[in-house]
């Protein structure tokens, strides 16, 4: 009987979000309409954000919403609109490629699943998980601190170097910021309107 024990809501929502994420990911693969794909991808990524929330990574989840779903995907659709040839683009893939992709993907999937479940430590859930769910991890602030080398999650660390300072992410953060800036400038340069020299026919 399914209700022998209390429902583990954590697991319940995990299953919900996992199915949504996986299902729409597969839908992305099998859809031929590029805008449908984008829509499915949105749902899939949204569900992944839900998974992040479930794993306690609220900040990353919200970030996923903001950047991926709100930014990247809008950009993608924008791209679709700019490059649409006919009204609804669909480019058929040869059946042979489908078969090849399915075989290779299946093989890879089997390998990954085997690897993922092969380690017992990964396989066993945390015994005191239920009590942890209630605790509030204050992640946004903790992440802010971690970026500046102020590790709340390492307070019990014995090595003082790991506890603060060395384990900061400020430099990578700055590098990523500069990288983003450079990329934005580069992208806008690449995508700028070029003066086309029309060859008279």
């Amino acid at each position: 009987m399914i209700l022998q024990a209390a429902i583990n809501w954590q697991s319940f929502y995990f299953l919900l979000f996992a199915f949504v994420a996986c299902g729409f990911a597969l839908a992305v693969v099998f859809s031929n309409n590029i805008v449908h794909m984008a829509f499915f991808l949105t749902l899939s990524l949204g569900a992944i954000a839900g998974l992040f929330f479930l794993a306690g990574a609220e900040f990353v989840g919200a970030m996923q919403f903001m950047i991926y779903v709100g930014g990247t995907l809008v950009l993608l659709i924008f791209g679709v609109m700019l490059t649409a040839q006919s009204k609804f683009v669909s480019m058929k893939t040869a059946a042979g490629e489908w078969v090849l992709g399915a075989i290779l993907g299946g093989a890879l999937f089997v390998l990954l699943i085997r690897a993922g479940f092969a380690v017992p430590e990964w396989n066993t859930p945390r015994s005191d998980a239920a009590s942890l769910v209630a605790a509030d991890a204050q992640h946004a602030t903790a992440i802010g601190g971690a970026v500046t080398g102020y590790r709340v999650d390492r307070l019990s660390e014995e090595n003082p170097v790991l506890r603060n300072g060395m384990s900061g992410y400020l430099l990578p953060f700055e590098i990523v910021s500069i990288h983003l800036l450079v990329v934005l400038i580069g992208a806008s340069y690449l995508a700028r309107t070029k003066k086309r020299v029309k060859v008279a026919v």
């Binding site: 022998q4 429902i7 900040f59 779903v69 924008f78 009204k87 946004a140 709340v152």
Partner: protein
Amino acid sequence: MADFFNNQIQGTLDWLGFSLSPAWYDWIGPLTAALIACALLLNVVAVGALAFIWLERKVSGRIQDRLGPTRVGGKFGWLQTLADGMKLITKEDLTPAAADHFLFKLAPYVSFAASFSGYLALPFAVGWVGQELNISVFFIIAIVGLEVFGVILAGYASGSKWSLFGGMREAAQVVSYEVPMGLCVLVPVVICGTMNLTAIGEMQRGLFTNWLVFHDPFSFCVFWVYFTCATASVNRAPFDLAEAESELVAGFHTEYSGLRWSFFFMAEYGSMFLVSALAAILFFGGWNGPIPVFGPEALNWVYSQSDLVTGAFRITGYIANLAGCTNLILKACVGVTVMMWVRWTLPRLRIDQVMATCLKYCVPLGAVCFVGVVVWQLADLPSPNDLAPPVHRGAVRENWVLKAATPPGLVPPKVDAPDAAPKAEVTQASVLSGRDL
């Protein structure tokens, strides 16, 4: 609330004499609680949309020297929107032949769902929130950005060039305006040191001088930038390029009719209310009135901190929360009204002007203000709050460091108010306790 329902069920079962494993019914409690919260929030959106559409018609009428609706439901046309809604429901639901049927049908719901999801993290008073998130500001901003997705899909799926143009404009506009809006939202976050809206609201308790908009000249500036960007990101005039009727017939919703069309409008008004409420919480003290009538200084009706931790229920606390909730809704309504006022006053911008407003004015202004606020904070420059500080903001901020991070190697943050530590402890607790409601 979930526990409350579960306890009631258990009590009923005990009274009836059944002994049943809790596994059989313990899902009912959370589900009921969620449904109730959902229904309440849905009411805010739906009834809000109802009221705002009426308001819009009256406001526009007055601004254009007309009377607006006067007949349906009494002298002021109270029920005009209801009549409109009934008309819309009974209208034929058309789908163009050239449309992408699947997305065409889905798009309004995407839009509405995104708008509605934002309410999930919006606190209406201390503890009165769908889901307490410690990153609720961020979450709401992210979700508000999602609304555009439905618009784009609608624009694309309609199979009409007007719609497509509208969708593309919307995409460009919203993606751009998210940048200055994020910058502006960062300002209260930086001042308060938290992304939790409940905490931000609580930190502005006391006299209105404590509101963040009066914190310093830069935060005053940044509020106006925020409001401009919010107007743009909810696609309101003068930034309503996506539905510019003079050029694009009706933009992305050209092909929509009936209930689907009204969903777009529900989403739009929902978003308006959402960003206005956000502005109220971030800059105008949220649920705290200009004079702390219910606060510990006067009546002490607010839920005392220990009450909220233990979950105890006091009728006075409930009334105070109710008043705070009303307060917030009133503030948000003022914001929405201002948006209407702007819509019927200013002419629509061109798309290039819209982008220029964002990139050439809002972003630099927001950035300068952000830096200014940071400098103001670092230099510890005076703010009106210093004149009459009922709650020292520094005491509320970053309390977790005080509590959790005392091992060697970490310096607790400087707390200058002598009575700060106990207050800090409790205020933070109040922030945490809101989740269960």
